[in-house]
Symmetry: C2
Subunit: 264 residues, 2 copies
DNA sequence: GACAATACTTTACGGCGTAAGGAGATGTCG
DNA sequence: CGACATCTCCTTACGCCGTAAAGTATTGTC
């Protein structure tokens, strides 16, 4: 189930995101005991530690010694809390990437930071991207990669598509790692063990496998990939896909530069 | 919330997927009134029409005139039902792509079919890929793209990474379209309207936007993109990202071919 | 001291996956 | 035929979820 950003009142949501100071002078009633930041921090902690399915209003409240319902005085609903979490953690991506060696190493560094960022906060990959949160930190990340790519002199239109492609790719590759860890945690079975069990059964259930899927079998035999020491197979493989795929895309960008501007 | 494949008994799951004939001779008790295929078809219909959140055991049962619990005599749990749905629909991707004009048009055709396939069944993008379902149709899709890419003569290891990259990219790009439709349906607000409201509010909440994000503003002004007639903005843009991104990746593959085999 | 506004609580509703147990159908045996 | 095992399918129940509604306690202004 994908979560969608920005369902509620637009102004209220944006003022929360940009922390527009709320003038709350002499008004009756008890003082708020919590701040938005405390709530967002608690929610992020839960999502980081236990994953998105464990993130419930009741759980966040409990972590703060409050009932789940009490949060509704700070945040209109859960979906907007997720928006706030989303933008908040994007503040971690504030590196500026020097262009002294050109755009390519800078893009690589940016993508690498994004890659490990998603691994630190895998729940981000379950928040839809279509309706952007429009918070300060999300904009800053786009600004950063766009500034780097300006160096390629690609036309704006193509450049924006390259930005999209990079995000799709990094998110997809990061998802493999994130989900492999989630699956292992959720099922109590490591991916290696899972694969060992399955791959032993497949030949029994499908005796003519090699005849039906000759290319898969041939590639499996010819593959020289071996995981790094101490790193689970799937994660090591995903890291290699990230490296190779990113290089492939950047090679493609160079080809587009060499071709010069034209129809995208 | 991402769904994970294959939590249950491996043999039972695989026999269901590959439809290994169950010898159910003279056994007492009433005859089953349903078949697995009927259940899978009903579940796919719900997911296609109303999206993954609407897919509940009770809903599938209701569509078949049965209680939700009755399905548990056919399928061990919901997660395995999703596996069956996943593999079943992949049977639609059975085209074979001629190589007379080389690998590049064939990959483009394959990716294009995958792209529209995901749009026909957007819920597929919410099923995790880490633990593959290992059904006949899923294998067939991998076999197809692998066979095409064999034409590039890339080493097996690199070729497999390219396959991963293509899947990441196509899934990511397709997700944009799928989620944009889901968001519009779920919120009752078109993406255009949503954007109109937000973008009007941002300058009020963030008066110094242009100073803080100069590259974004400059790119927005220089962008020549205009949506196709009658196609929503976001979808048209996503289609262009798909075209441009795929071309970029394939250019990168050609560059890797030109470089010849080496460390991936 | 009266009153209004606010923070926070408890309770409740309709959804979910599925465990448990029971009803009725259908086969094999004596 | 009757007894019994086995099967499909049903109802009920549990503990989760987001959040609506209503109640209580606290704090300010008049």
């Amino acid at each position: 189930m994908v979560l969608f950003a920005g369902q509620g009142d637009a102004r209220r949501a944006l003022e929360l995101l940009w922390r527009t100071p709320v003038t709350r002078e002499k008004r009756p009633g008890p003082k708020p005991a919590l701040t938005i930041d405390e709530i967002v921090d608690a929610a992020v902690a839960i999502a980081d530690e236990e994953g998105m399915p464990a993130l419930s209003m009741r759980a966040v409240g409990q972590r703060l010694g409050r009932s789940g319902m009490s949060l509704y005085t700070y945040v209109p609903n859960k979906s907007e809390l997720v928006d706030l979490m989303y933008d908040h953690v994007h503040g971690e991506l504030n590196g500026d990437y020097g262009l002294d060696q050109g755009w390519r190493p800078a893009v690589r560094a940016w993508a690498g930071d994004l890659w490990s960022f998603y691994q630190r906060h895998p729940w981000l990959l379950q928040v839809s991207q279509v309706r952007p949160v429009l918070g300060p930190n999300e904009y800053a990340v786009v600004e950063t990669v766009a500034r780097i790519l300006t160096e390629t002199s690609l036309p704006a239109r193509t450049l924006l598509r390259v930005v999209g492609t990079l995000f799709h790719f990094v998110r997809g590759a990061a998802q493999t790692v994130a989900e492999s860890r989630q699956a292992a945690a959720a099922t109590g079975l490591s991916n290696e063990d899972w694969w060992a069990v399955r791959s032993a059964v497949v030949p029994e259930v499908v005796p003519d496998f090699a005849r039906r899927y000759p290319t898969i079998v041939a590639l499996g035999q010819a593959d020289t990939f071996r995981p790094e020491e101490g790193v689970p197979y799937l994660e090591s493989q995903a890291a290699e896909t990230f490296r190779v795929g990113l290089a492939t895309i950047l090679d493609g960008v160079e080809a587009a530069m060499a071709r010069g501007p034209g129809e995208p």
